[in-house]
Symmetry: C2
Subunit: 310 residues, 2 copies
């Protein structure tokens, strides 16, 4: 562990824009890179997770670590670091950066094949990376404040039969297509449907609607988000009924409120979906209550892992 | 152009394992890397092409460059190099490596977002990379000789409604799933079906069958391979009838012959598909004739762009 926590060359580096752990060394985040030969790049054969740091503490760190371990197992990946070592590496990245509010990523790539090696993923040595960079809002605070304008994308979500969405992955070709639709429509973000017309998720976030006081989220085709689970926990705590079920675009258009959730932003209310205006064109009352309680939980230090910045 | 063709620091490097053009400089291929913040990595927002060099000459270089330009246009990407400059960069990579038989890749990533930039792909500055490394056989020469043992994967190909397969991309999650099925089955490689049960392609290659003397290849869900086009040109030259049409797994099981095609290997015959033995468990006569003529065309210097190694 000493090798990981007290590297020798750290004083040479400027970590103020973020710190990374790459190829078993700590480097400034903007120097962390992946070989163009790594299958994690040239076959997107990689899984990752993102946990956030808010006011000097990780939020629900162990849930993210558990999911990351499940994702690696699902892709038959192994790394030489156990959970305590991963936690230590993430903490060191944050400590080196000095960031009090951070986006902290961990990822494992399939690795680089040796010359002449048969094309068998099981033969390869997987590579672990991590980095802490300044907090990112997937949807900007100004847009969150007025309520995001969403569209339902024509691009279909990659189906679970091809790529398992519960294993967090970088297969974003469909999401990028949707983001171009967003730009063309002058909107803020998009929701993607599956082949059968059911709502799945958006680029980096889960989707929720509120109808007659009940919170609903898709039961299929989406990442099992940690923030999504936090929304359910918030509903429990606030005695708001909730369920997961199939949701169509018609359901979204008829919703009283829509909001999205992600680690990089929290709970983000929407105000419009396609041409339809929701909640008088502003964040709805249930969405706002959930959002405020989400941040209150942060202030109360719930599910927090404090970081010792030394 | 001088900047690109006569870099100053080249003598410091050992290019014997391959040469790359990365971030506007020539480096040994194993040092070429992409930032973990580049959407080309963390959203697989990247397109690429691969051309091969055989005995000191590119094969069908301009067809690959044309497709690469179409792929970039399809993803709304722009780079500061025109076709002549790309050709020059690829040639320089090969010349630096000294390789007479090489796998030569060109790729464009979406790039790295600036801090605080909204998540709009159109705002980003795209990045171009290229590299030449020793020739790769997607299916080893020994396996090509005896005829590959293929399986039809249970993992479904990512559908065109989600990611356009005619834009060459690194979304290989479905292919990796299929490669694990291959390992579990003790086979050599896999063919993937679409949601409707029609044959698409395999990990890095197009698929063909021969039935009653006619060559058939899928009309959907697959890359429009340059080597696939060469197969059609070979059929024309050899007066072998061919067509593209929907092909089912039953069609493959009832085929007289099956072969695959790719830049990194050429025309590669199969001998088995699932439990079914084809052509007396060896490469079939039409497949072998096409393969031999393919390499004869190389020896004759057809469609060749000779490289001046200086």
């Amino acid at each position: 562990m000493n090798k990981l926590t007290t590297p020798q060359t750290l004083t040479e580096h400027d970590f103020s824009k973020g710190a990374a752990f790459a190829m078993d060394a700590y480097v400034p985040a903007d120097q962390a890179s992946v070989s163009v030969m790594d299958w994690g790049f040239n076959k997107s054969d990689v899984t990752y997770d993102v946990v956030h740091v808010w006011d000097g503490a990780f939020f629900r760190l162990d849930q993210h670590l558990s999911r990351f371990e499940r994702s690696m197992a699902g892709l038959r990946m192994k790394i030489p670091y156990d959970r305590d070592e991963i936690r230590e590496i993430l903490t060191t990245c944050v400590r080196l950066s000095g960031l009090r509010r951070a986006y902290v990523a961990m990822l494992t790539t399939r690795g680089v094949p040796l010359p002449g090696m048969p094309r068998k993923p099981s033969l390869m040595t997987n590579r672990f990376y991590a980095y802490a960079i300044p907090w990112i809002d997937v949807i900007s605070p100004e847009v969150q404040e007025r309520g995001a304008h969403l569209i339902i994308a024509k691009t279909e979500r990659i189906p679970p039969e091809s790529v398992d969405p519960t294993i967090k992955n970088y297969h974003w070709g469909d999401m990028i297509g949707a983001l171009f639709e967003v730009e063309d429509a002058g909107a803020d973000n998009a929701v993607l449907l599956d082949r059968d017309g059911f709502v799945t998720e958006g680029p980096g976030f889960n989707v929720f609607m509120v109808r007659d006081g009940k919170v609903c989220s898709p039961d299929r085709g989406a990442l099992e988000g940690i923030t999504r689970q936090t929304v359910f926990d918030l509903c429990d705590a606030l005695a708001i009924p909730f369920e997961t079920r199939p949701i169509t675009s018609d359901d979204l258009h008829a919703a009283d409120e829509i909001f999205t959730s992600t680690t990089a932003g929290g709970i983000m209310p929407a105000a419009r979906i396609d041409g339809t205006i929701l909640s008088n064109d502003r964040p709805g009352p249930v969405s706002v209550r959930l959002k405020e309680t989400y941040w209150q939980w942060h202030r109360e230090g719930r599910d927090a892992t404090k970081i010792d910045y030394g």
